[in-house]
């Protein structure tokens, strides 16, 4: 069967992102501890002038530096690993948790199903970004946790905050699958609940799962950008003596936008590079989700 254009673009973009994740840090010309606090340049009249970052593109820094003097190209190349893996991790863990809860909700609609539905509605009342912000703020600027621990904890909070919305979506799909006539046949021959889930519900659901999972990755990336604007970075936030917040893990696209957005009127490229990289990633995952949805529709006649 012929692949649709969106699926092709999505797959090419995903392969590109995967390559960036794997070899990006190796290709990066600098590490994150290479900080150029100032630079001395010789002017046309022969005088020497001291410049402060962000520096424009030069032979040493191909696309310039950020406001701390770190090489922007290195940040872009190294950032894919942290940013994309974080989003993928959050989406996968959320799905693994949501699947059994959704199944229980579909099997017991009056108790667990009702509870999931109500929690899902309640969680949409307050924007996810604000809920996550308030929870992460408890430890965000403290040094109780290491960068990796902070990242895992932030991921866990994002998983839990969006869990019931994802569960509710899966539950609706499962409820419609459980209404298929062959399910009555399975019940009558005494098939157990987990056998039904493993052998009959998940195979039917697998087409939707791919689409939903990829959409969740895009949504997590979007959320990470919004959190960055609030100075909540996935690896934690550090405060300088002056109280200025900066990233504990500086090679991350989503947080980078938030961290440097104040500089964008004077140095727009410092913000534009991470913003474009992140947009490309979100677009890739959205295209992949839409492409998969269309592919399923054409191949299996599955809509939604």
């Amino acid at each position: 069967m012929k692949m649709n254009l969106q699926l092709k673009v999505g797959l090419v973009g995903t392969i590109f992102l995967l390559l960036l994740i794997l070899i990006g840090p190796k290709l990066a010309p600098y590490t994150m501890d290479s900080v150029a606090s100032f630079k001395k340049v010789t002017m046309e009249d022969g005088t020497t002038q001291t410049l402060i970052p962000p520096f424009p593109a030069s032979d040493e820094n191909r696309i310039g530096t950020d406001a701390d003097g770190r090489d922007m190209l290195s940040i872009m190349l190294r950032g894919a690993r942290v940013t994309i893996l974080f989003a993928v991790g959050v989406a996968v863990v959320r799905f693994l948790l949501a699947l059994p809860i959704a199944y229980l909700g579909a099997v017991y609609p009056r108790t667990i199903g009702w509870f999931v539905d109500k929690i899902s509605v309640a969680s949409t009342t307050i924007p996810m970004v604000l809920t996550v912000f308030l929870l992460v703020s408890i430890y965000n600027t403290s040094y109780v946790f290491t960068e990796t621990q902070s990242m895992v904890l932030t991921g866990a909070i994002i998983v839990l905050v969006g869990l019931f919305q994802t569960t509710s979506l899966l539950q609706q799909k499962m409820e419609s699958i459980l209404k298929y006539p062959f399910m009555d046949g399975l019940r009558s021959i005494g098939a157990g609940k987990w056998t039904v889930l493993r052998k009959h519900v998940i195979p039917h659901l697998s087409m939707h799962l791919g689409v939903l999972l990829v959409s969740e990755i895009a949504q997590t990336l979007w959320l990470a950008t919004q959190l960055g604007v609030l100075y909540v970075f996935v690896g934690g936030t550090t405060l300088s003596d002056m109280g200025d917040p900066s990233m504990r893990v500086p090679e991350e696209w989503a947080g980078k936008i938030g961290a440097v957005f104040r500089a964008f009127r004077a140095h727009p490229m410092v913000v534009l590079y991470p913003a474009l990289a992140l947009s490309m990633a979100i677009l890739t995952f959205n295209m992949l989700a839409e492409g998969l949805r269309k592919h399923n529709e054409q191949k299996w006649g599955i809509t939604g």
Partner: protein, 311 residues
């Protein structure tokens, strides 16, 4: 085990193995050694502090007096009666959020409906454009809008469109556009899907076979059933708008309800009280939108009035 599954598993294991190896043996830098952080003891969170803050907040709320608040955010000191401050913030945000929600939903539904009356190639182009719009983070959208506004201002030689709120001179156009565009993109998708679903029904084919004009069938027979599915999405759009407001208020320098949701000021013990009050306002806004859409759904869907479905 199937061959495909085996390949997927081997790829995953190799990927995880490589990433773990690179994490432990690669050039990882501990940023705490590079930066000079504030001492740990100055940034300590304790359960006792949290408990006393919650108790006093609830007590003050029940008395209807949250006291005064003085917050130093960057170089600006804001102080005054907290409830008055909340009221001003809510008014500022409502001036953006409510028009943006109305404009976004209207535009999304309008374009989503009109797409069925344009040629196939144009339709595909619009769909691709929507996909692109759907994927642009609000921050990048703001940058593009501000650049466009500056370009127009330069072209006309006058400040026609304000790009940032300074000296209490309010700006509305760009913030409303920034919040409305993602809402319109989402609503467009919902409308297209809802209309497509209805158009596959038998009664639509019958109406067309009877010789009724296409636009008449669409307005009278497609839009009404589709409206119910579209209205279901409106509360979600209200949440999308509120989430977008976080970025909008920071980048356009608008002191609205999300202004104090800022990691830099969270160490002020009075700020959580303000945030709790603002969250209550946001919840009221969401519940209000949900109520209005539920009533509209009752109007457009007779089966709901007879108790045939859940609101």
């Amino acid at each position: 085990m199937s061959r495909k599954l085996l390949i997927v598993l081997i790829t995953l294991v190799s990927l995880i193995g490589f990433l773990s190896y690179d994490h432990y043996f690669g050039n990882l830098v501990q940023m705490d050694d590079v930066l000079r952080p504030v001492p740990k003891e100055e940034l300590k969170w304790t359960g006792d502090r949290f408990q006393s803050a919650v108790t006093s907040y609830l007590q003050d709320m029940s008395e209807g007096d949250l006291g005064t608040l003085s917050v130093r955010n960057k170089r600006q000191v804001t102080s005054g009666d907290m409830l008055k401050m909340v009221q001003d913030m809510v008014v500022r945000s409502a001036k953006i959020l409510v028009p943006a929600l109305l404009v976004g939903v209207s535009c999304g539904v309008l374009f989503g409906s009109l797409i069925y009356f344009v040629p196939e190639k144009v339709r595909k182009g619009i769909m691709a454009g929507n996909q692109l719009l759907f994927s642009i983070p609000d921050l990048l959208l703001i940058i593009f809008l501000q650049m466009g506004a500056i370009w127009i201002d330069q072209l006309t030689g006058r400040v026609l469109i304000g790009v940032v709120e300074v000296s209490n001179r309010p700006i509305h156009l760009l913030p409303i556009m920034t919040v409305a565009i993602p809402i319109a993109a989402y609503m467009f998708g919902y409308t297209v899907n809802a209309c497509r679903e209805v158009m596959q029904q038998e009664f639509i084919r019958t109406s067309r076979a009877k010789g009724l004009p296409g636009w008449y069938v669409f307005v009278k027979h497609v839009m009404r059933p589709a409206a119910d599915s579209i209205l279901v999405a409106v509360p979600k759009m209200a949440a999308v708008g509120a989430a977008g407001l976080v970025v909008v208020e920071r980048l356009y320098n608008i002191m609205g309800i999300t202004w104090f949701f800022n990691g830099a000021v969270m160490n002020n013990p009075a700020v959580p009280r303000l945030l709790a009050t603002l969250l209550i306002c946001l919840a009221v806004y969401s519940i209000g939108v949900k109520l209005i859409t539920s009533m509209l759904r009752l109007w457009v869907n007779p089966s709901l009035r007879k108790g045939g479905g859940a609101l």
